[in-house]
């Protein structure tokens, strides 16, 4: 690309960013001539350069926009519409520039539409003839500063003048333009001597004059010059350096640091070395140099915020909200690489706050707040990290809605949610595909967004957290490292080799030894660790990397002795087992050779102080590799957003495999299991003829798979814990085998109580256990609230129940009875399926449901000519003669108590066969 063109592009992009911000400021403060002058000048510069480079389209738009702004300067009132128009022409310029950058050619096309609008706006608002408008008072400047500004400017100012003047004419056509050109030159070059006399000093706006003065000649310094000039008009003390040069410098300094470290290591081994003193000096200089070079890469975070005022302004217009954007700590610096990466997530979050967080002025007034909402952005340093907060004073997150959405999307089960704090639930907004916006707006609410934000922040080793108070607002806190070039790592050993693990992902270290509290246990062959009531999936680093110790004097260590590095990646927590942990070291990450880059387990390599090369473990790579392995009950729930849907469609379902009673594996749907626990036999107490354990502060009854079997008298017993509505029971099993994701296809029914039938799971015949059989053994009234079973041909059955527990339960149960089951959580959803043209042979509905209850549901169906033939059964915990009568009236074909499984099956059989009989 042409140097000139490249220079132009860089410069123009910067100018445009500044203009964006300034315009928004100007709109709020239309009387500030200083801002206007600045905008005017920037746009003018763009126009001038475009003409010079032969870019007629850009020039024409810039010119029209400038004309309009000229009117502002002449005292035409500044309206939001006019500002919007100018902003949209800037957008057009931006898109043209972007294309120019890509193709090195100005794209063809016409901007007549925009230009006409601009011209019309300019004309309608023009109070006087263009020429007459020429000398606007605020531009004038008094002597003292001028003297200073003049000298350097004079010469270069002239050049600019020519540059701008000449292309103007060929670029456009009419006399009109010439006239304008005249006007502009007058306004534009007030610094030129000849203008001074004209405008004696009515307004003493010295700083503004000074600013223009400082800037005019040095176009390339525009944005930087602003602050510079404001500080005192000294010609700018900055130079433009290409990023490559800086990167190279940084690399070289990194090398220097490494060499220094090696030298220090050597000297450490030699007492009384004469190198000691000079080396100390070298060390200090190196450290300073490193710091200095790091500084050159640092940029104020304000650069990433530059676009936000404009974004917020557009949003406030679009959404009809009054929004004030406060920015604190713009000067906080961070590495430019990080800055680039954080830009988009930040913009998205601010949009989100404006769209979802803040209320409309009416709503705000109603809740006693000022009409104007505030979004506050702040940044500050904290121990090698930069903290960015985005806070709004809006309505706060609606935890109930999030909870509901989590259930709908199957991100977690009800029982899991019950155990979570509000903060934890709120964090679900970062889950993929999650959006609580009631309606999809232009701004956000497309269900992409917060998860992308989180992914981006994770990618640079950052974290994001949120706090919310209903009615008072929400604040997001982002914590990111200052730089990606230097990383603090933990040096560990596995199979005789050393590896570096980035500290940021390390949560804690646990020493694992057999016979201690922290010992590695196994579920089948999967190692796990019990850590504070949670089951932590483990992986041996050496196994993950497929390495063994090959040195001759390798000690054979017991496999389960070692250190567990507990890591948190995204929302995945896991433990990495290593043989030893050495120390932490700040390392300079070096990219890996292209021949090694395909190995996802490593993110780079580096040279340690002792001169050896070490591989840097990529926590994301490990998390990915683990993805298939890790599934504690909780995690399986979080993992798959489509899990619930899949279950409704009777596709794959997570099954927990275990052994109990016999050698054959048994299975239950994982979603039914709340937790997996293990108790030592001594803890089991006997009371009132049954076994109990103390669990979470209350007594939990234990149910044995087979009452006949010999119970263990020592050791510990694994059990599946089922919870519903605050009650728990433990189903004691012999061994937990695995968690698998498989299609549940019960092939052989069972006559035996407690077994639904047999299915092939993981290519083994597996008994699918009917949890419904065991639950009443713990609490006889377990099903007073809900539940049941069935038998028939393959008929389609619609099951409506608001409790996920029973929906999950019934899937397999009804399927075992030969029905093709579709479960929905509300009558409304059920009706929607009918509307969508789905056919069902029979409907089973709960009675007590929110919104539309079972009676209403039945009435609607029975009134519909097309559906009135479909038999519909009521399932309810309340079985009084009155309620049964009410059910009959509503049109239910039968009314069955929830605990009466046999009754339900019989009823289903009856209604489906009679229905068949009639139809035949």
């Amino acid at each position: 690309m042409d140097d000139l063109l490249r220079e132009f592009l860089t410069e123009t992009n910067e100018s445009l960013d500044v203009v964006d911000v300034e315009l928004v400021k100007f709109e709020q403060d239309p009387n500030n001539a200083k801002i206007l002058a600045n905008i005017f000048r920037l746009v003018h510069t763009i126009k001038g350069t475009c003409g010079f480079l032969g870019l007629p389209r850009l020039e024409a738009i810039a010119h029209a926009a400038e004309t309009l702004m000229g009117k502002f300067r002449d005292g035409v009132p500044v309206t939001p519409q006019a500002v919007s128009l100018v902003l949209s022409s800037l957008d057009r310029i931006k898109s043209l520039v972007a294309e120019l950058e890509a193709t090195e050619q100005e794209p063809t096309g016409s901007d007549r539409d925009l230009i006409e609008l601009l011209e019309r706006m300019a004309e309608s608002g023009a109070p006087a003839a263009p020429v007459a408008a020429a000398p606007p008072p605020p531009e004038a400047k008094p002597g003292p500063t001028l003297v200073q500004a003049e000298g350097p400017k004079h010469a270069s100012g002239d050049i600019v003048y020519q540059v701008l003047e000449r292309p103007l004419r060929p670029g456009e056509d009419s006399l009109d333009d010439l006239e304008r050109a005249f006007r502009e030159t007058e306004a534009e070059v007030p610094l030129l001597k000849q203008l001074e006399p004209k405008r004696d000093a009515p307004a003493k706006t010295a700083p503004s004059a000074e600013k223009r003065g400082g800037r005019e000649p040095a176009k390339e310094r525009d944005p930087a010059a602003e602050t510079e000039a404001a500080k005192g008009g000294v010609s700018a003390q900055t130079i433009r350096v290409s990023v490559d040069t800086l990167e190279h410098l940084m690399t070289m300094v990194s090398e220097l640091v490494l060499t220094r470290n090696q030298l220090l290591e050597i000297v450490r081994r030699h007492e009384d070395s004469e190198f000691k003193v000079p080396l100390q000096r070298l060390s200090n200089v190196t450290a300073e140099l490193q710091e200095g070079v790091m500084k050159t890469r640092m940029q104020p975070i304000g650069n990433a915020w530059q676009k936000l005022p404009r974004v917020v302004r557009d949003l406030s217009q679009e959404l009809g909200k009054q929004i004030e954007l406060e920015m604190v700590g713009q000067d906080t610096e961070l590495d430019r690489q990080v800055l680039e990466l954080i830009k988009d997530p930040l913009t998205h979050m601010v949009r989100n706050s404006a769209d979802h967080g803040l209320e409309t002025p009416d709503q705000r007034k109603a809740s006693g707040k000022s009409e104007k909402g505030t979004i506050r952005l702040s940044a500050y340093h904290e121990g090698g990290h930069i903290i960015i907060e985005i806070a709004d004073d809006g309505r706060g997150l609606n935890v109930d809605r999030i909870r509901q959405k989590v259930l709908e999307n199957g991100l977690a089960s009800e029982s899991e949610l019950e155990k979570m704090t509000e903060q934890q639930i709120c964090k679900f907004i970062f889950a993929p595909g999650f959006s609580t916006a009631a309606k999809v707006t232009n701004v956000s609410g497309r269900g992409v967004g917060m998860d992308v934000v989180k992914t981006n922040i994770d990618a640079i080793g950052g974290t994001v957290d949120l706090k919310t108070v209903i009615g008072q607002g929400t604040s997001f806190t982002i914590k990111i490292p200052l730089t990606l070039a230097i990383v603090s790592t933990l040096i560990v050993e596995a199979a005789g080799d050393r590896f570096a693990i980035p500290q940021l992902s390390v949560v804690e270290l646990v020493r694992a030894q057999s016979n201690t509290e922290h010992r590695i246990e196994r579920i089948r062959d999967t190692p796990v660790l019990r850590l504070r009531n949670k089951l932590l999936p483990l992986v041996h680093l050496s196994k993950l990397l497929g390495i063994t110790d090959r040195s001759p004097n390798a000690v054979v260590r017991p496999e389960d002795d070692g250190f567990i590095v507990v890591m948190l990646v995204g929302n995945q927590t896991f433990g990495v087992v290593v043989d030893g942990v050495f120390h932490t070291e700040e390392i300079v990450v070096k990219p890996m050779s292209s021949m090694l880059r395909h190995i996802t387990m490593f993110s780079g390599n580096t040279i340690l102080g002792d001169g050896s090369v070490i591989m840097i473990v990529d926590p994301n790579g490990i998390a990915q590799a683990l993805g298939g392995i890790t599934s504690t009950a909780e995690m399986a729930g979080e993992k798959d957003a489509d899990d619930d849907r899949a279950r409704v469609d009777a596709q794959t379902i997570s099954m927990l495999l275990f052994r109990a009673g016999s050698a054959e594996p048994k299975a239950v749907p994982l979603s039914l299991v709340t937790r997996l626990e293990e108790f030592s036999v001594e803890k089991v107490e006997h009371s009132n003829g049954r076994d109990l354990v103390q669990y979470r502060g209350s007594l939990m009854p234990l149910v044995y798979f087979d009452e006949m079997l010999q119970r263990k008298s020592e050791g510990s017993v694994p059990m599946l814990v089922f919870s519903d509505a605050g009650r728990s029971m433990g189903l004691v099993v012999d061994e937990i085998i695995d968690i698998v994701e498989d299609e549940l296809n019960i092939q052989v029914g069972s006559e035996r109580p407690g077994v639904l039938g047999s299915a092939v799971i993981k290519s083994r015949a597996t008994e699918v256990v009917d949890i419904g059989f065991y639950l009443p053994q713990a609490f006889e009234d377990w099903f007073q609230r809900k539940e049941m079973k069935v038998e028939s041909l393959t008929r389609s059955l619609l099951f409506v129940d608001d409790a996920p527990f029973f929906r999950n339960m019934l899937g397999p149960v009804l399927k075992a009875a030969g029905f093709n089951v579709t479960s929905v959580e509300s009558a409304v959803e059920g009706l929607k399926l009918f509307d969508d043209g789905r056919r069902f042979d029979v409907v089973v509905s709960d009675i007590e449901m929110p919104n539309m209850n079972g009676y209403e549901f039945a009435e609607i169906l029975k009134r519909h000519p097309k559906y009135r033939q479909i038999p519909i059964l009521a399932l309810s915990a309340i079985c009084t003669p009155a309620s049964i009568e009410r059910g009959r009236q509503a049109g239910f074909d039968d009314y069955i108590a929830k605990f009466d499984r046999a009754g339900l099956i019989a009823a289903l059989k009856e209604v489906t066969t009679t229905e068949y009989g009639i139809a035949a």
């Binding site: 390495i547 390599n605 591989m615």
Partner: protein, 155 residues
């Protein structure tokens, strides 16, 4: 690339190396260093030919086990391995070899194409053969030695 240039001149200088009893020659302008590799860090999950990474005066160098690259048996004599440092596409590599010999200046005219019956794996990385007194020297085409590895990766 380098060969086209060198073929225009009358002679080429080769650094000779021994790998598994065979004499190889590397064009001298491709050879940046000859060094004794120390403390190679193995890289788990990398391809077999990659012996690991090592620190050569502050640069991280990827070490390629040439015996494995040439599908030769592992070295049994326990002698000190040597390495030839080369650059390829802006990255540093070290080719692990058995011994380094003298530098030979050989006439371009004396270079002969690979025998048609040469093992395909060898032919793929050989830039021709020189007949010397008493033995043959195979020209190692550095770009193909390393480029071939990258290709397999991309596939």
């Amino acid at each position: 690339m380098s060969e086209e240039i060198t073929s225009l001149t009358d002679s080429v200088q080769y650094v000779t190396v021994m790998i598994g009893g065979q004499l190889f020659g590397l064009p001298i302008e491709r050879v940046h260093d000859v060094f004794m590799p120390e403390s190679i860090t193995r890289v788990p999950l990398a391809r077999g030919e990659i012996a690991g990474v090592l620190n050569l005066r502050g640069r991280i160098v990827t070490a390629i086990d040439m015996r494995k690259r040439l599908h030769l048996a592992l070295r049994q004599d326990g002698g000190q391995t040597m390495a030839v440092g080369i650059e390829h596409k802006g990255e540093s590599y070290g080719l692990l070899i058995d011994n380094v010999g003298e530098v030979l200046t050989l006439p371009t005219a004396g270079r002969e194409p690979n025998p048609v019956n040469l093992d395909q794996k060898w032919a793929a990385i050989s830039g021709g053969v020189h007949r010397l007194n008493g033995h043959l020297m195979v020209i190692l085409d550095v770009d193909r030695v390393l480029g071939g590895m990258a290709e397999v990766l991309a596939a």
